[in-house]
Symmetry: D2
Subunit: 366 residues, 4 copies
């Protein structure tokens, strides 16, 4: 059944396999009147492009985006925007070793069970390459959000056991080091750690943190469309994510109510504010108007050279040592994907917010 | 905008406020031909009913369910099933102290921002009481699942820092102690801890773990409707949940690929199996056919007697000490809610699974 | 599968069977801030209430509506509005003759095929009584529309071969005669015609026409959610409707382009206007800002006393003469249902219109 | 807001403008395991291709379809199928005369009102060329239906006042004459009529009739997703359609119940059958298992050479004589579009039918 569409208002439909002819996305419901060109999208794609550092797959893909519809004379027209990225460096033969094998940690066996048939080349639809379409759509969402004063910033919080030190937090570092860590020193240690794993043929996981600023209060739809629920779904839909938490997250479960509640305080200077942000900026599933904070846990890349036990389609036990081109860590390239999924979700629910109140409706239609 | 409906196939729409006339749910898309009576639903409602232990609010509610449609001569007819639970013990005056105040940790301020108006009595729509409708719908979902061989079991994994000991795990304890902990000894200590908090006027959080057994492989819809993503959304939509993780969850981020991958093994006796379940039973967003495991973090009940700083509608700083009837811990009553949301989600995606393959479609229509 | 919900923004879910305990509707997505009381809804229900004229079923139903949620101190809160109408005069025994019989023209046989089981009492879910929930929801939609300057007016255009004379059109007559015809003379002749059919145990069909005024241009979502397509679906979903046409409708197929196009004309006095309205106020699926006109064809009530051939569940050929209480014509009571479905659809798409343009979005959020 | 997607299960999202780079469609939810190649789709596209007869626009478009995803080794994989048709013969300068003018009968003025901006080249998104994407998706839907024994046949019933004679009905004629009329003699007269209009610079409308055979009973979802309602929406969403009717349609409104009801009859030889089909094969919104019949009215092509009054963007009254390349009648090329929309709708609801009954669900999952 259809599961490649997300969003009720700003509706994003992706398609494409890792080694098919192309990948793409249709964005329907983008408001008319937004300046948009291919470069707006390309600069986001370039952030997740493979082959940019020793810590990502050497697969060479230009990942050039084409806008095929929905933009006229540089302005969105309100009709569906179709974006396509053609595949070039497909090297299908690399993957012949896995046509009949279920790689551990990959979706080979589950796709086999679900569909009976699967495009095994490079993981097909289950490949991380699928996220190129998310990032393209996210670039459009970000343009809308920036016009409405909303900023999204994600970064690598930790790789393996190496975590950034909040005291050394420096956001400018995010774009400077290839691991997208806002702490130069931690990034250095993480790079060494990954290098070691790479030599062993192993891989690392990590945690991405995301901060949303400028989002007004009142965004999110109770009961089942709570903002944390829909953000959670969007982030958990990214391939390797195994957990998500908001604000204090799992730690909140160990505190008491009097410790965990964030008192609201008003002062002439600052207006309304909170001294703590244990809630992560969302209460009752609705944005508070304060910064939103969440973290997503990424499992280590399942493709490792170290030999592993598994079975093939004939249920024979085999040992598998993956050759091919693989990321020893996916986390840094996932940072922009987290931002994209956040942006796609926020646009959808920020627009929905208008329709919750008769006064806003009248203002829009007046 | 509408956010009170969940499910595409098995579609659940809830309504009602904590101190309104009633709460209820419409279940549309329930297949015809399932035996269903009020007692099937009532026994689930009784598991979350307030006033059953010293650790839950003394509010007295019978929580009697009425089936108003969709069942004929004890069998579902395929038409919408409307369930209503009328409120009795409303005591609206208890809440007069909070009409103009934004309680810390509650959704008072966010609802105020979103809608401009809110039913402040007992939290209105944002009250935990809203979950009575989820549990009612979940009872129907469970009936369907049990006919298809799927079992769901949730329990309290920890309250505050008191965690069950896996060595002492005893599932029969879940229904025996009021904290729904499958470890008698831990339950005893947790009870003491809660008693202390209660006396201080404070509250505790905790973690709920949930195990799904008997679900076939192939359930979940890539890309955006991955099974973990949709389960995550369903669980994060429960009021106090601040995080969710699958299998090894956040810990996976600290391991390496060779450690974290679950090898597939085949033997004549056992068929295909896994020695580890780090994935939590879902890969690539699709069920593996092995047990699914996830954990949800619940924040402490925000209603505490201990005085807290906050503001009122006029942005005056005040100190608030909540009287009323409150749960010192919500986790044990949330266990059945976690099961309900899991069941509702599983039915929806298990049914969708049929439509993914032409061979299953032909089998059904033959 | 779920089919009892309509609307993406203003989402209406109905439930209930003709002879069940109650019928009802949940309206989710109604904006906060609208004054609403039971009387607002009741006055619409009274327009379709049975037993009000010799031309409708003598079944006695008060059809009293109860608002169970979503309204606080007389104002909508943005949360789901649950409305219930309890059944009183059920007389189930009247229907015992049809438990095993498939009445011609009724949905007995199709429900039997679809679900294997059906509530045969009074047609169950397939009864025209189901529309009581539509009218209740429509009353809320009308309140919103009236705040936004939109009016909907439906009336009986013809009953059998008796059609109103446009020269004698008098809208005040619609509420004055029991056939809702805006032509007193035609209403008189139609009444005689129905009286004759009633005596013979037969029934009549007819056509309802509906005019929408005050709807701004720009409403309707290309390509699949064109305004005429979604209005068409809403109207065709009413039990006995067999056709719908907009503007010149089927006649347009017999004209030429130069005859059928409506020229746009501008004058200082009148602004932009059209001398003809062959389009019926919608072009390219989007409202023009001029009046919208459509017509719906209702088949004759299938319940007739005249003996008819049919089969029973055992595929035995039988002859059936329906006793019971039946409307000799359903059209006049359907007029308010047409208005309700129109209102529900218009609210949904009028609200969607805001989200089509960045300038409207900014205005709402500023 | 998003309106370019149709279907809940078999979900079709189209995109593209008449004179943009390409048009296309993403089909998500297509079951895995269906043989599919470009030729399957191409042969349907060729049926609506322009420039094939004197009665269609001489615009030259190859309309070659490319499958970019979702098919592996000639079999559908269950993942989204992306189809693209690149535009070649765009001749944008032809349309420069209309950049600032609102053509009568076209969607120029309504798009202008809705979006503030529009791609005026060839009507942009509102062009009939948009239907190429529908036909491509319809080809896939037809493949599924043919595997399930369902056939769809549409044809031109009338052009202007020239109607086929049922006595001369010959289905083989549909593919033989360029007007898709199953009556050679009527087709001849219609051709003459169109030739006359063409010389005058005028255009004709017409009626398309569609017959569905082999669809089992039980398809369609009460209450709002009745089969006639959803088919009606699908057909009304085709550009020039102004009306739709099922079975006896508008004529039913003039009959009586005893005339209009279709008696069910059972015989050893024929099984259950009906001697009349006034219902058009749908009762209570559910298929009966008998042939389904409906008719759609198409207005005349609005592009005519005959001078017409209209206004430009500055609200100046002007006279417009359209040059360019236009179809003097759109009806014959619309026949395959009607079939496509019917197929897309039927697949979606035929699959939904499985989920209505527990016995079918168990059969599929066993």
């Amino acid at each position: 059944m259809s599961g490649s569409t997300i969003g009720k208002i700003f509706s994003v439909t992706t398609w494409g396999e890792s080694h098919g002819k192309a990948l793409g996305v249709v964005v329907d419901g983008c408001p008319a009147g937004i300046p948009l060109c291919e470069e707006d999208i390309q600069k986001e794609l370039d952030r997740r492009k493979p082959g940019q550092s020793p810590y990502s797959t050497p697969r060479k893909e230009e990942d050039r985006v084409n806008i095929l519809s929905g933009v006229f004379e540089g302005i969105t027209t309100g009709t569906p925007i179709s974006l396509v990225i053609f595949n070039h460096d497909q090297r299908s033969k690399d993957y012949s070793q896995i046509a009949d094998v279920f790689r551990p940690g990959h979706a080979d066996y589950t796709y086999h069970q679900k569909y009976g048939i699967r495009d095994y080349r490079g993981g097909g639809r289950a490949s991380g390459r699928e996220t190129v379409a998310r990032v393209a759509a996210g670039a459009i969402a970000k343009k809308i959000l920036s016009q409405l004063g909303v900023q999204i910033l994600a970064y690598t919080l930790s790789i393996g056991h190496i975590k950034i030190d909040p005291e050394r937090y420096d956001s400018s570092e995010i774009y400077r080091n290839p691991l997208a860590m806002p702490d130069k020193e931690a990034a250095g240690r993480a790079a060494e750690y990954i290098q070691q794993l790479k030599e062993k043929g192993d891989s690392a996981g990590g945690v991405v943190e995301c901060i949303i600023q400028g989002l007004p209060g009142g965004v999110g739809e109770p009961v089942f469309e709570k903002l944390d629920a829909v953000l959670g779904k969007a982030i958990l839909s990214i391939g390797a994510v195994k957990g998500i938490e908001f604000g204090k997250g799992f730690e909140a479960a160990y505190t008491t109510g009097s410790q965990n509640n964030d008192p609201l305080i008003y002062s002439q200077d600052k207006g309304l504010y909170k001294e703590t942000n244990n809630s992560g900026g969302i209460t009752g599933g609705i944005s508070e108007g304060f910064p939103i904070v969440f973290r997503a846990a990424f499992k280590p890349t399942p493709s490792v050279r170290i030999p592993q036990k598994t079975v093939n389609r004939n249920m024979q036990n085999i040992e598998l040592s993956l050759k091919g081109r693989h990321d020893p860590v996916i986390v840094p390239r996932a940072v922009v994907v987290v931002e994209a999924m956040t942006a796609i979700t926020l646009v959808d629910y920020l627009l929905q917010r208008i329709l919750s109140r008769m006064d806003l409706i009248k203002k829009a239609l007046s």
